[in-house]
Amino acid sequence: MYFLKRLLFAVPLLVVISALAFALVHLAPGGPFDRERTPASPEIERNLKAKYHLDEPVWKQYFRYLGDLAHGDFGVSLKYRNHSVNDIIAQGLPVSMLLGGLAFCLATAIGLPAGFITAARRGRWEDYAGSLLALLAVCVPSFVIAPVLILIFAIKSNLLPVALWGSPWHMILPPVALGLYFAGKISRILREGMLQAAQSEFVTAARAKGLGENALLLRHAFRIALLPVVSYSGPMLADLLTGSFIVENIFQIPGIGVFLVNSVTNRDYTMLLGLSLLYAVLLIGLNLLVDLAYTWLDPRVKYE
């Protein structure tokens, strides 16, 4: 019931988001058809604007856009004029999702055990080493990690491809470059959560029942500590799935992450709106899933 309410609420939320994004892009100076070479006559520019309805007042353009949206038509990209935004998303989203999915798997595969070990061995060398590595992963920007990885694994040792996408070999470096940051984050959050859970009354009671230290941590604290990790995963997945601009740019991966940033630079209004809405839909959907996961993990949590 609660979730149904949330879903219904999502629709007006999306409308508000689209209006906000629409207003924002039209505020920025410059238009999609400003070029280094001005056309030979002002009529040419007028024709161009008229073709894409950019000469109409902004509110009218917005309602026209909403009308198209109701049919599932995101419009034609103003920069790639032979492609509709639907085409571009259909081509790029699966790639970004694959990249993001792999990065997520990597982040959880490294982050969860790392967080667990650093929490279990708190205060000892495993904790210091693990925490340091996790923090390093969080503090080094991805546009530094990626070229360094390329340098070591692709250029100097020729083990892996330098860039592009297409074979399983291409799918090793980019998810690593993308996922390391999140692995570090997950590890920190899990450690934090487990340390807090270890002090909670719930676990104290279990300890009083006479369970051993390891079994304790594994079964109780871990499940409780997963909650903040899961709640962080929602927005994290949304970011990962819509592609990281930096990684896709450096590795030349044909996903949609590059389009998001470039659409702002190019003032490609339709592309920008389409991707913003996609991102919003994903975020809302994932947040919903996250809240669902909450109820599975912690039966105490109830929504009214």
Binding site: V16, I17, L27, P29, F143
Partner: protein
Amino acid sequence: MSEPAPSHLSPNQRAWRRFKQNRPAVGSAWFLILLLLAISAWPVALHLSGPAFARDHNPDQLSDAQFVPPGAQHWLGTDVHGRDLFSRILFGAQISLLVGVVGTVVSLVIGVLWGAVAGYVGGRTDSFLMRIVDVLYSLPSIIFVIVLLTTLGDLLKQLPLVQNSPGLAGSLRVMLLFVGLGAISWLTMARIVRGQVLSLRTRSFVEASRTLGAGAPRILFRHIIPNIFGIVITYLALTMPAIILYESFLSYLGLGVQPPMASWGTLMAEGVSEINPIRIYWWLILFPGAVLVMTLLALNFLGDGLRDAWDIKN
């Protein structure tokens, strides 16, 4: 583990003691203090030194000594224009740290006020304010920042005030960065603060205050805000590295500070562009990167230490 807290000390003093026992946190605090000292002392040193030294180490001074590796004259090497890297790193630190601090303060002010009001007033106001946070959360922040920087920059330039004082125009760009970065970081802070305020509101000491006739602002400022102090401070220490990183990302996109000003972000972006299979000017990426990473690590450790010290879970 720590000994039982002596009961004669105030909560703050107890927290301070706990903090001092956390070695990484204390070490980080010292590192940051030393960094700040270096940043403030270096310009003075340049000013007081001889003309040759000052000229060599002026961060804006072009020379023909392009891409010199680290050595006696240029301790960390030079860049494409022959500018001394050590100097640029220290001057760039000013910008990066300033952006971090101011951006964090902006996010603090907006976030705390927003969250506190929402949590305390409750009801429809809370709903409304939090819905706005939800909406803003769903917008990809990069769009917001780019549009903010370009639009506001353009608008403010039209103001006669800016046109008349050229120095202001230069710093304007940096100030816009503060505002822009702060404007996208306050959302999480607002959420956290609201959560805390919600739970605090029902505590007995607040109830007592209300029955005694205290008005809402008094309660907010005397009771609520001091009690969320701990969590706010720790979040601050964690937001600052995120803002500094975001600034470096914007520099990579070409939207950061204006040349010839440097920030760690622009230095890193320059350095990274030099990584190629033929020849690597390793010092251009290693040194700015190392300083950035160490500073961010220090801030993180500091934040963790503060959180551990002020944790009022028991």
